[in-house]
């Protein structure tokens, strides 16, 4: 057996991921053909992400609108099952998400793992609300007359959600899940500087049972896309959480044109690790009150 020094094997070249938009269950690039460089907390290049245009936003709204009837018309049990399965898939990709979050937010390994665990548990928490929120929110009302009167909660429709800029995964999930659990569909605008975990989330959604169009994810410049969503007359609600301070009021102003339901960030949101209040679910729910006489 000769003892020649073996030449070290050539290092394996990784196959890098392409980060595209997620609209209507498919992964298109931006129709504008643009992308932008995403860097980690040390300014190292991570990847090019698609830079969504107003037309991408328009297409996303259209996809979301198409998906409303089916998603809000599904039984609450079915929505809960579908969303719970998303959590199963997230759990399976724990290490992938941990790596994404580390790179995006500059966290240590254990901190990143804790974020991913909290994300999965947050998703499970919301999945379990699907068949309960109407029990907590609805009521049979004791009106003073021979009428049966009840109030039920219904999804408002299409919601534009500006995800938090800093919390690229936990914060994202904390603003998206409450909208969809009760039957709304969502166009989420990911964190501008930390969009990559959102795109990986869209891969999870694409392989889950969530129908195409229920959740759409756009990456790009928040200040560019947000005004188009805020002024879109076929969007029913908007969450301004990820809006830059100087823009939020303008967006709310535009939203008033069709009286969108507006959700604002709260200081209690904090770093998103605390137990959520119900206001984000309530914000996307209408209340319908029905009267019916009782008599023979």
């Amino acid at each position: 057996m000769s003892e020649t020094v073996a030449a070290s094997p050539a290092p394996r070249v990784a196959v890098r991921k392409t980060y595209k938009l997620y609209i209507g269950g498919a992964f298109p690039r931006s129709e504008s053909g643009r992308s932008y460089a995403v860097t980690d907390h040390k300014d190292n290049f991570l990847a090019n992400a698609a830079m969504a245009s107003r037309k991408d936003a328009r297409d996303a709204v259209s996809a979301a609108r198409k998906a409303v009837a089916g998603w809000s018309g599904a039984t609450a049990y079915n929505r809960g099952q579908v969303l719970y399965r998303v959590a199963e898939l997230l759990e399976g990709r724990r290490s992938q998400f941990t790596a994404e979050v580390r790179a995006a937010e500059g966290l240590g390994a254990r901190a990143a793992e804790a974020v991913v665990d909290a994300t999965i548990d947050r998703w499970v928490w919301y999945a379990g609300w699907a068949d309960k929120i109407s029990q907590v929110r609805g009521a049979a009302n004791p009106v003073a007359g021979p009428y049966y009167n009840f109030s039920v909660a219904e999804a408002t429709g299409v919601a534009a959600v500006l995800a938090p800029q800093d919390s690229s995964l936990l914060g994202l999930v904390s603003v998206v899940a409450p909208a969809v659990v009760s039957g709304n569909t969502v166009i989420a605008v990911a964190s501008e500087s930390r969009p990559l975990p959102a795109v990986t989330l869209s891969e999870v959604l694409a392989t889950s049972d969530v129908p195409g169009g229920v959740i759409n994810i756009l990456t790009g410049r928040t200040a560019e896309i947000a005004p188009w969503l805020a002024s879109h007359m076929d969007v029913n609600a908007i969450d301004l959480t990820g809006a830059p301070d100087d823009l939020a009021d303008d967006l709310a102003d535009a939203a008033a044109d069709n009286l969108k339901r507006v959700i604002r960030p709260r200081s209690a949101d904090g770093d998103w690790t605390g137990s959520p209040s119900l206001h984000r679910m309530h914000g996307y729910l209408e209340t319908k009150t029905v009267w019916h006489p009782t008599g023979t």
Partner: protein, 476 residues
């Protein structure tokens, strides 16, 4: 012989791996009983012995309660709700994964048609676990205060008519709220509960959180009177329910007992669906249903039409092998139950009612009773007052809505009722006046984990299902 006879379409038994004998499930393991008590469980359709099962003695009950107490104090009540939730989600998932096995086993042990165990019992059982899993980490939003606490150890005794489903109704909310349980399945249907114990193992549920002890009346009595439990949950006969209420002491008790529901059909009912509802109401699960529509109250003006449609429809019911996918009516669960059904039916004839049974061939082996209708029934007849718990319908008439209410409510029971009419306001007027915990309008025997179920009066107290179902397992 009709033109289109259905060939046998048996579901295979091969999916179930029956053991020859089963121990008790205590503290996460199957263990033998402290003494040598055993009993056999048989298939009511063929009378073959399915397995030997351990009879838990008072010493075994002690062991189980201690295990539950330990698990409660050291593990389960201190575990955050979101972690308890994930165990319950796992259990729900495994029930779905092993659905076919559970359905076949349920039909073998209970005698109910495989179509029902496959399409109703097992899916609902999984759904109950899913629903209550989601409450485990949201109790502060349930309307019982900012930090509701569990009660401790729950002793639960369930009946033989929906074995796995009744187990799910008991265990899911108890665990979601942070309690641990000792559950005794009925002595004629222990097998799916024992398979559930395996599922708990597969889910890695911490030992002692769920304990399954098999046995009969004495085991049940030892359990519900045990000083080491904080809560008693019982589904079964009103007679035993009263005994439990007397012996309860300071323990919290919920009872889900018998019924003699009125299924009320008005002249303007959607008649074809009403007939389905009548059939479903009393012949689903061979009438072994506490909320069965066992009294048909038909408006006199449409009596002939409804009865004729009903008889015509009953002639298409298929009675036979529970494992045949086309069977509609399965076996009666036990010789004791069959004797009771026969005795009450004979009394019906003796008291002057007219008896009509659907034409069907009863198999030679096993326990069977044909779907039967009594007409000319008066409210004083035994078959109008006593729960038969079998496929026997008593038909009475009424003229006005108020009369229907009076007749429907004239019973010590109050579990459920059905109303069939095209008029919405009448549905709501009737629902407001029926003294029953569940009112089905233009439908019957519908169950859902989100929908509270339970009775008025001697049908028991407490509700299972929905947000209301949490109350039974919280210290509120």
């Amino acid at each position: 012989m009709g033109k289109f006879e259905y060939a046998p379409a048996p579901e295979s038994r091969a999916v179930v791996a029956l053991r020859e004998s089963y121990g008790l499930f205590i503290d996460g393991d199957f263990v033998p009983g402290k003494d040598d008590g055993v009993f056999k469980t048989i298939s009511p359709a063929t009378e073959e012995v399915l397995a030997e099962v351990t009879e838990a003695s008072p010493a075994d009950v002690d062991r189980a309660v201690s295990a539950a107490r330990r698990a409660y104090e050291q593990t389960w009540s201190v575990m955050p709700g979101r972690e308890r939730a994930k165990y319950l989600f796992r259990i729900a998932r495994i029930i779905q994964e092993r659905a076919r096995e559970l359905a076949v086993l349920e039909s073998l042990d209970n005698g109910k048609p495989i179509r029902e165990s496959r399409d109703v019992d097992i899916p609902l059982a999984a759904a109950h676990f899913f629903y209550y899993a989601g409450w485990a980490d949201k109790l502060e939003h349930a309307g019982f205060g900012p930090d509701p606490q569990p009660l401790g150890v729950a002793g639960q005794v369930i009946p033989w008519n929906f074995p796995l489903l009744m187990l799910a109704w008991k265990i899911a909310p108890a665990l979601a709220c942070g309690n641990t349980v000792v559950l005794k399945p009925a002595e004629t249907t222990p097998l799916t509960a024992l398979l559930f114990a395996e599922i708990c193992q597969q889910a890695d549920l911490p030992p002692g959180v769920v304990n399954i002890i098999t046995g009969a009346g004495p085991t049940g009595r030892a359990l519900v009177t045990h000083p080491g439990i904080d809560k008693v949950a019982f589904t079964g006969s009103t007679e035993v329910g009263k005994e439990i209420a007397r012996a309860a002491g300071r323990k919290k008790v919920t009872l889900e007992l018998g019924g003699k529901a009125a299924n009320i059909v008005f002249a303007d009912a959607p008649v074809d669906q009403a007939v389905e509802g009548i059939v479903n109401g009393i012949f689903f699960n061979q009438g072994h249903v506490c909320c069965a529509g066992s009294r048909l109250l038909v408006q006199e003006s449409v009596y002939d039409q409804v009865l004729e449609s009903l008889r015509r429809r009953l002639a298409t019911l298929r009675l036979g092998d529970p494992l045949d996918k086309n069977t509609d009516v399965g076996a009666i669960n036990s010789p004791a139950q069959l004797a009771k059904i026969r005795e009450l039916s004979d009394s019906g004839e003796a008291e002057g009612a007219e008896r009509w049974s659907a034409p069907c061939e009863l198999p030679v082996k096993g326990f069977w009773f044909p779907p039967t209708v009594f007409t000319g029934v008066s409210p004083a007849h035994r078959i109008a007052r006593e729960e038969i718990f079998g496929p026997v319908l008593s038909v009475l008439t009424f003229r006005t809505p108020a009369e229907a209410i009076a007749k429907a409510n004239s019973t010590p029971y109050g579990l459920s009722a059905g109303v069939w009419t095209d008029k919405g306001s009448r549905i709501l007027w009737m629902a407001a006046r029926l003294r029953a915990g569940v009112v089905w309008a233009n439908t019957f025997n519908k169950f859902d984990p989100t929908s509270p179920f339970g009775g008025y009066k001697e049908s028991g107290y407490g509700r299972e299902g929905g947000r209301h179902g949490l109350e039974a397992y919280l210290d509120v």
